[in-house]
Symmetry: C2
Subunit: 427 residues, 2 copies
């Protein structure tokens, strides 16, 4: 979207292909999953965003393949040719060697995933309220989040707030604060890319919200009610009963990247990102650019740039400008990333921010976070009042978008013997 | 919900059973279907609304049967006994003798139905943008709405605005204003319960929004692409090609009403509503009350009260007060409905309002409508800023909640011979 916007008004014809009709502000998706925001609040229709870019046509379509030698893009239901191609289909989660876990542990990556997580979280509390058996009730009130990156940390924090603040006083047989929230991280610590002092503060904030962080522990088996985790160092296994497991681990670039790399004869890295040249193009294919989460671009320190929105936005604008410069016969210096810092939020009043020149934590970081996110969302879709309301609700711990939609997958409680007996007498 | 609220603090134990965990403000559901609002904006979690009513427990459960002689309510997964019972499971649409039409023509009654309608409306414009065949494109841009009551009229008006204002300038090969919107009403006129002069004005407002009203015409056959309608007077049939048919006809009371009436030995009317006594109880079962859309209560003019929110709210409060009075050994005069008027809105700046003492149409009626709805929603969930933003967006014809979610049911365009040929050459 940033590339298309940067090409608006240039003497080129642009086709923006997306299988979704909206741009999603991923950074707040965990707020949808915990009932703080509606999907419409963090999504902007692509057509509306590009309405005034008369040289840009938006097509809702799915790209299934790319043939560089013929300069063709294959859609699921059609075909397009190109002169220059920018590929930015991002990254998703993968379930290691266990695709069957996808059903059991929904991932926080798409709107549908977030709504499924919201449904399961809210249904778990509803089921617990009706469940007379204390063991089964505990299983409903035990939540496991797999993956201690920013997404997993933010989701765990928001779930902690939901249980400890938002739902307080709304139930009559359970206390939502009894909920056990377990954040699993196979690596040595959560938020691996953050400085150690901020990681420490993040861990303390999570604890205060009732989240148990288990670093160095990984998921080894999963069923509808049982979670088996293993201590990476000792190899010791442990079993937990939990009815709700959520997924935020195993980042993998879009499979289109692997396909494109094979067709173009370039390399990918272990998580499937396409290795790109200093100008973001592919070696030997100067008219193809790969940007964002699916690109492996080495920064000054020799490490690939992180998969964050800032990188994708800057790369999109760079690729667009390079295309325009080439048409004018001009050159452009290699892409350089300007790091504006990292932010992660752990519930109301607690966040960690690493802005490079300064590090914050606690309420100040939270204020910075709220300000940046609200200003970003307002910028892209004029959602001023919605965002202000949300900021206020967030501050007062209210969550209004707590709808359980879609069918119920199961009876909330098992019909017990004494009930069945009464039924027999009546009929 | 109004009954439960009225019983808060009384010396009774109240259990509120609902299969959904939220209260839905039905009157704005068509705004969800046309991308103006998110479901979260017009829904309020029951638990939050009743948080401070300490004698009220909310259970998310589905009632499948009632046995008056044993004073038992059967849930899908459990059983409850009662001393007094208030039944208010409302009404839905039915597809006459054609249950198979449910798949082809989603109804505007639930959140899921509204999101499915939104998905189909937006996908139709996306498919039209990509469809090169003019006949097929016209089928994508032809929308049929079945049922000319307030819901059908409001949906048709909002769809007219979507096509003529909101989407203007967002497409490159189609003009969304080419859309044909057909509102079918089998009866003699749309908005049958409104005074003739307001009906006339509503018809003119719809015309201005590009809606063709076809009164006295009914649907007789439906497939994925063909709609067969029949003129009720002449019996003449006509076929239209349309890919999008929406349902807002054939109101029928919740099937639980029929079941309860059989068990309690009372009558139902032709649309399945349970006939109730002057105090809303059932004849011979003074501890069971049936209220709202599923009750047949004769007003002063001998006609049953209409299925509108005002009736349900007043009846809920009445039943609650009657129960409290009975416990005190006091009597209560029969229920009397205080009609506060009727309102239907047909797009921005156009509405018809019949407040009894005065009738409005046009911009004044629209202002009345906006004011009443915003104040109602603010009252029940403090969505002040969200609603203000929405009022503003509505006035400026913006619609931000235009997400197509869920899977695509079909390829948007058929892959054509020439594409297939190129594919053959490349591979």
């Amino acid at each position: 979207m940033y590339a298309a916007k940067a090409l608006a008004g240039a003497l080129v014809r642009v086709t923006l292909i997306d299988k979704r009709n909206f741009h999603l502000f991923q950074a707040l998706l965990y707020q949808v999953a915990t009932g703080g925001l509606s999907p419409g609040d963090i999504a902007s229709p692509l057509r509306a965003a590009l309405k005034n870019a008369r040289n840009v046509q938006v097509l809702k379509a799915e790209v299934v393949d790319i043939y560089p030698e013929k300069k063709l893009v294959f859609l699921r239901d059609g075909l397009l040719s190109y002169d220059s191609l920018i590929v930015a289909t991002g990254a998703g989660y993968h379930y290691f060697d266990h695709p069957e876990w996808a059903e059991l542990a929904p991932a926080l990556k798409t709107v549908e995933g977030a709504l499924e997580i919201r449904r399961r979280l809210l249904l778990a509390f509803e089921a617990a309220e009706r469940e007379p058996d204390p063991d089964k009730r505990r299983a409903w009130l035990t939540f496991v989040i797999v993956g201690g990156g920013p997404t997993g940390v933010e989701l765990a924090g928001a779930l902690g707030e939901l249980a400890n603040s938002t739902l307080r006083g709304e139930f009559r047989t359970i206390d939502p604060a009894e909920a056990q929230i377990i954040l699993l991280e196979a690596g040595g610590s959560i938020l691996a890319t953050y400085p150690p002092d901020l990681v420490h503060k993040a861990g303390r904030s999570l604890e205060k919200l009732g989240v148990t962080v288990r670093s160095g522990q990984r998921l080894v088996d999963l069923t509808a009610e049982l979670v088996t985790i293993q201590d990476v160092a000792s190899g010791r296994e442990e079993m937990l009963t939990s009815r709700t497991v959520l997924w935020a681990a195993g980042i993998q670039a879009s499979p289109l990247g692997q396909l494109l790399a094979e067709r173009a004869g370039v390399e990918t890295d272990p998580i499937g990102r396409v290795k790109v040249e200093p100008d973001l193009s592919l070696a030997g294919q100067p008219e193809i650019f790969v940007i964002g989460d699916m690109a492996h671009f080495e920064g000054r320190d020799g490490r690939p740039l992180p998969g964050v929105a800032q990188v994708a936005m800057q790369q999109g604008e760079y690729a667009a400008r390079l295309i325009v410069d080439r048409l004018k016969g001009e050159n452009r210096p290699p892409f350089e990333y300007r790091d504006k810092g990292n932010l992660a939020v752990i519930g109301r009043n607690a966040a960690v921010a690493d802005l490079g020149f300064a590090r914050f934590s606690g309420f100040m970081a939270w204020l910075v976070w709220v300000f940046i996110h609200i200003s970003y969302l307002i910028g892209f879709d004029n959602k001023l009042l919605v965002m202000t309301q949300w900021g206020w609700n967030y501050f007062t711990r209210r969550r209004g978008a707590r709808l359980i939609t879609g069918g119920d997958p199961f009876p909330l409680v098992e019909v017990r013997a004494e009930s069945a007996q009464v039924v027999t007498k009546v009929t």
